[in-house]
């Protein structure tokens, strides 16, 4: 597993500056170094550029691409769980049911709720996720449980900022079910809040990010 995300940014610049104060020659970080650091950005950089487009399986067994089929052009609410989770998951899931109810018919339209299992498909099959959903009143419109390669799901988790800088804490899967991350791929606005917050306030915050209901293009065919 990758080490917890370290911030590499300032080191190049700081080395250069540190030397600058002492002596003016011999600056670290060549032009070539900097060029190789360039990554393609759309104007302003889009957060969703870094979200892996991993192939995942829904609780119905359908194969989907995480970005292309789920995130693109929508507002998504993402949380991480696992079917055998007994700590924070049951409370989160119940709270999200309340969020789902309050968001009304926008869920399934321009808003999707996505629950990804950290355990991945070797532990949590689509059937296991379906069973988990059944324990909470069955699958709901616009709320998709997802499983797949655990490493891919781990990358998705990190891309959404759901990780702990302390590798020990990060390796503890019980630590990642406390957040609800949500974002609007159209507007590039994202946020995350504790999944156990009062559902009224989660819904308020989600709607601030979701904005007006967006007309989605009719599905092909």
């Amino acid at each position: 597993m990758r080490p917890a995300a370290r911030f590499r940014g300032p080191l190049v610049a700081l080395t250069a500056l540190a030397l600058f104060a002492g002596c003016r020659a011999g600056i670290a970080g060549s032009e070539a170094d900097r060029q190789s650091d360039l990554r393609p950005h759309r104007p302003g950089g889009r957060l969703s550029d870094r979200i892996p487009n991993a192939e995942l399986r829904t609780h119905d067994g359908k194969l989907v691409r995480f970005y292309d089929d789920l995130v693109r052009d929508r507002t998504v609410l993402v949380n991480f769980m696992y079917a055998t989770c007994t700590g924070v998951c049951p409370g989160s899931t119940r709270n999200l049911i309340s969020v789902h109810e309050k968001l009304g018919d926008r869920v399934g339209d321009d808003i999707l709720m996505l629950s990804l299992t950290i355990d991945g498909e070797r532990v949590d099959s689509p059937e296991a996720l379906k069973k988990y959903a059944d324990r909470y009143g069955g699958p709901k419109d616009g709320w998709i449980y997802l499983t797949g390669d655990a490493e891919q799901i781990d990358r998705i988790r990190r891309s959404l900022g759901v990780y702990d800088l302390d590798p020990e804490v990060d390796a503890d899967k019980t630590q990642h079910s406390g957040l609800l991350t949500f974002g609007n791929d159209r507007t590039n606005r994202w946020a995350a809040l504790p999944a156990l917050m009062p559902s009224d306030q989660l819904v308020e915050a989600v709607l601030r990010v979701a904005g007006d209901r967006q007309q989605r293009k009719p599905p092909d065919g």
């Binding site: 990758r2 911030f7 590499r8 940014g9 300032p10 610049a13 700081l14 500056l17 540190a18 104060a21 060029q35 650091d37 360039l38 990554r39 950005h41 759309r42 104007p43 302003g44 950089g45 889009r46 957060l47 550029d49 870094r50 892996p52 487009n53 700590g87 119940r94 309050k102 968001l103 009304g104 926008r106 990358r155 891309s159 900022g161 759901v162 990780y163 702990d164 800088l165 019980t174 990642h176 957040l179 609007n184 507007t187 606005r189 994202w190 946020a191 809040l193 156990l196 917050m197 009062p198 009224d200 306030q201 819904v203 915050a205 709607l207 601030r208 979701a210 904005g211 007006d212 209901r213």
Partner: protein, 669 residues
């Protein structure tokens, strides 16, 4: 052509992209590939090259915010067209016309104490300001135009075509009350973003009505305005909130600031530039100036410096990662909105007002020639007398006023940061061998000023005397533990709820608060709204001298503890207290205190909306009776409620709903 987003978009349109921002092919390849991504690491800011760009731009000193006399604002504060709520100053119909003021004004505006205003006793305010919050471009890095959000002075006479960041400096006089009209023009039509940007303006260090304090959900929404009433007073010694008794002059402030505090979006808004200085002066400070102990406020020898760290995308836009919850650490150091600028100074003493306006960075500051300096103020207040220092540690939100003597300085002196910090968790300590970044270059010129003509100030000079809060004044002790649980921040095990008061001190009393950081390896600078505090103990010891007797923000190191004595006076809440690492604050590492007169319960029972007379946010009632479900019709359409937009408080406060109805809406309780 300058690199900025507009031009990128223009280029895209020319190329036939048709306004739809489609992901670039390279980005898609990246997403599908095995490259090292899928994390929140930031690419180094390639637009900035310190060899080429450092010390090329002069230090920027914002213009003072221009004031106009009483009676200039139109419509007048508190008198709005379309008042249909039935109380004066009530909010008008929301619409997209920023000339309409929709958020009322503090109830105290209608009922000021006669002695708040020393010029015209009884008049609620004396001066008026008018500010537009909007987008502009600015050369933070030379030759690169970056989008910034600015507070633009609508009364400016400078002829500037756009605003700047940091915002105009508010120069306030003690007991000359003011109204600042803030028009939020950051509608998606007016910004190079695809969404509206809501704001709430916090006057950091101010002693102001709750309505004007910048509670996170007391919005100035995009396309709307809000009148902020700043009485520019201090609490009274008896603290009960009545009129006429003596003011507690211990707490007259000096170096303050204003910045965004909008719910969940503060980190973004501040990173984009929404911050400015607010300097207050009273008779005592004027006397120190007249005696040539301090320079003229905001004159050539009084220089405010806001220290920030920035990150840039490759296109020159300011990078902000909404999902970097650890705390934003930048790789380009700016002072007053310019990357590593230079300042030409004379060989004499200067007053430098240092403000850590960074989202998460802790600075260790010193001068490159290691010259000592005199620290004369901490946070809002001048110290009782100065402290000689050669290094300062400064957490987010904190301020230090220093007197620096360039008389015998070399021709070039740098203000340096020597604190190593790699992520938002905490700094790794002062280590000049690993971290020594010059933040500001002083070019020292001219002959040495005759010492007799220079500022007559040293460590013995009495500045602002302080009468300590005595332990026997304390009526209550409370403990607040700042913690982390499953990736979320908690205070005393609870998640933030803007409808719940976590402390209801009795108005006019003094309390001892123990602030503990049990979050495991993180630092949290904790900031109190409404009043400053006496930092009694820091980590069990007497605090460092330069932290002075008065603070409004205190560093809580990992495992750290602060004991503070604090009074709660003049205004009922709600007010927040919170971690000033802004990404932690945006993840709601906050709690609410709501001082109330003896025997009066707080209406913040965990469920009920905040009184609209206080918050001014409410313009209509869409309340569902069933089960207290508020705001949202679950079977209907939740797109737009009464044209106001979605996700914002929109329910009439009902006094009958005070008191707990026996159902907690917070599953964490």
């Amino acid at each position: 052509m300058p690199i900025n987003r507009r031009n990128f978009l223009r280029a895209g349109l020319v190329a036939g992209a048709g306004g739809v921002i489609a992901p670039g092919a390279a980005a898609l390849a990246d997403r599908d590939g095995d490259s090292d991504q899928g994390n929140t690491e930031h690419t180094p800011s390639s637009v900035y090259d310190a060899r080429r760009d450092a010390f090329q731009q002069p230090l920027f000193k914002p213009d003072p915010l221009q004031q106009r006399p009483f009676g200039t604002l139109d419509p007048a504060p508190g008198n709005y067209p379309g008042d249909r709520v039935g109380w004066k100053g009530g909010p008008a119909h929301a619409d997209r016309d920023p000339s309409k003021v929709n958020h009322g004004i503090a109830q105290e505006f209608e009922h000021p104490c006669a002695d708040w205003n020393k010029i015209n006793p009884g008049r609620s305010h004396e001066v008026e300001y008018s500010v537009a919050i909007e987008e502009a471009t600015q050369n933070i890095v030379p030759r690169v135009e970056s989008r910034v959000f600015v507070y633009r002075d609508l009364y400016s006479t400078s002829g500037a075509s756009q605003g700047f960041s940091p915002g105009p400096t508010i120069l306030a006089d003690y007991r000359v009350p003011s109204v600042v009209r803030m028009e939020n023009r950051l509608t998606k039509e007016n910004v190079t973003l695809d969404h509206d940007v809501e704001t709430s303006i916090h006057y950091h260090g101010g002693h102001v009505p709750a309505h004007a304090d910048g509670y996170p959900s007391f919005y100035a929404l995009a396309g709307e305005a809000r009148d902020y009433y700043y009485p520019n007073i201090v609490p009274r010694k008896d603290g009960k909130g009545g009129c006429g008794s003596p003011f507690d002059e211990n707490w007259i402030p000096s170096t303050q600031w204003y910045h965004d505090h909008g719910m969940d979006i503060t980190g973004f808004n501040v990173s984009q530039g929404l911050a400015g200085f607010y300097l207050m002066k009273d008779e005592l400070e004027q006397r120190l100036i007249d005696e040539n102990k301090l320079p003229e406020v905001y004159g050539p020898y009084d220089i405010p410096l806001v220290l920030q760290d920035q990150k840039f995308n490759a296109d020159g836009t300011i990078a902000y990662d909404f999902l970097d919850h650890n705390g934003r650490i930048g790789d380009v150091f700016t002072i007053n909105g310019r990357a590593q600028p230079f300042a030409t100074v004379e060989r004499r003493k200067y007053r430098l007002r240092l403000l850590n306006g960074s989202n998460a960075r802790v600075y260790g500051l010193r001068f490159s020639n290691r010259m000592p300096f005199l620290t004369i103020g901490h946070d809002d207040w001048l110290l009782s007398n100065g402290v000689i220092c050669d290094q300062l540690q400064m957490v987010s939100g904190q301020r230090f006023d220093i007197i620096v003597d360039f008389s015998d300085a070399p021709d070039e002196v740098y203000l340096e940061n020597v604190m190593v910090q790699e992520d938002g968790r905490k700094p790794k300590g002062i280590d000049p061998s690993r971290e020594r970044t010059p933040l500001l270059k002083f070019v020292v010129q001219g002959p040495k000023l005759n010492p007799a003509d220079d500022l007559q100030i040293d460590a013995q000079t009495i500045l602002r005397p302080y009468e300590p809060i005595r332990p026997d004044e304390i009526v209550q002790t409370r403990v607040f533990r700042f913690n982390r649980s499953n990736g979320a921040w908690t205070v005393n095990g609870k998640l933030f709820n803007p409808r719940r008061a976590d402390a209801v001190p009795e108005l006019g009393t003094c309390e001892r608060w123990i602030l503990q950081n049990n979050s495991g390896g993180w630092w949290h600078p904790v900031h109190m709204h409404l009043e400053g505090f006496q930092l009694e103990k820091l980590d069990g010891a007497v605090p460092r001298d330069e932290l002075g007797p008065r603070s409004d923000t205190v560093e809580l190191k990992d495992g750290g503890e602060a004991e503070i004595f604090i009074k709660f006076r003049t205004f009922s809440g709600p007010f927040v207290f919170h971690c000033h690492t802004i990404e932690h604050e945006d993840m709601r590492m906050m709690a609410t205190h709501d001082p109330r007169p003896e025997g009066e319960p707080s209406p913040l029972d965990g469920e009920t909306r905040i009184d609209p007379v206080v918050s001014g946010v409410v313009e209509d009632c869409i309340e569902l009776e069933e089960e207290g479900r508020i705001l949202f019709d679950v079977v209907g359409n939740v797109d737009r409620l009464d044209g106001r937009g979605v996700g914002f408080p929109e329910c009439e406060y009902n006094i009958d709903r005070r008191g707990n109805r026996g159902r907690s809406s917070n599953p964490d309780d």
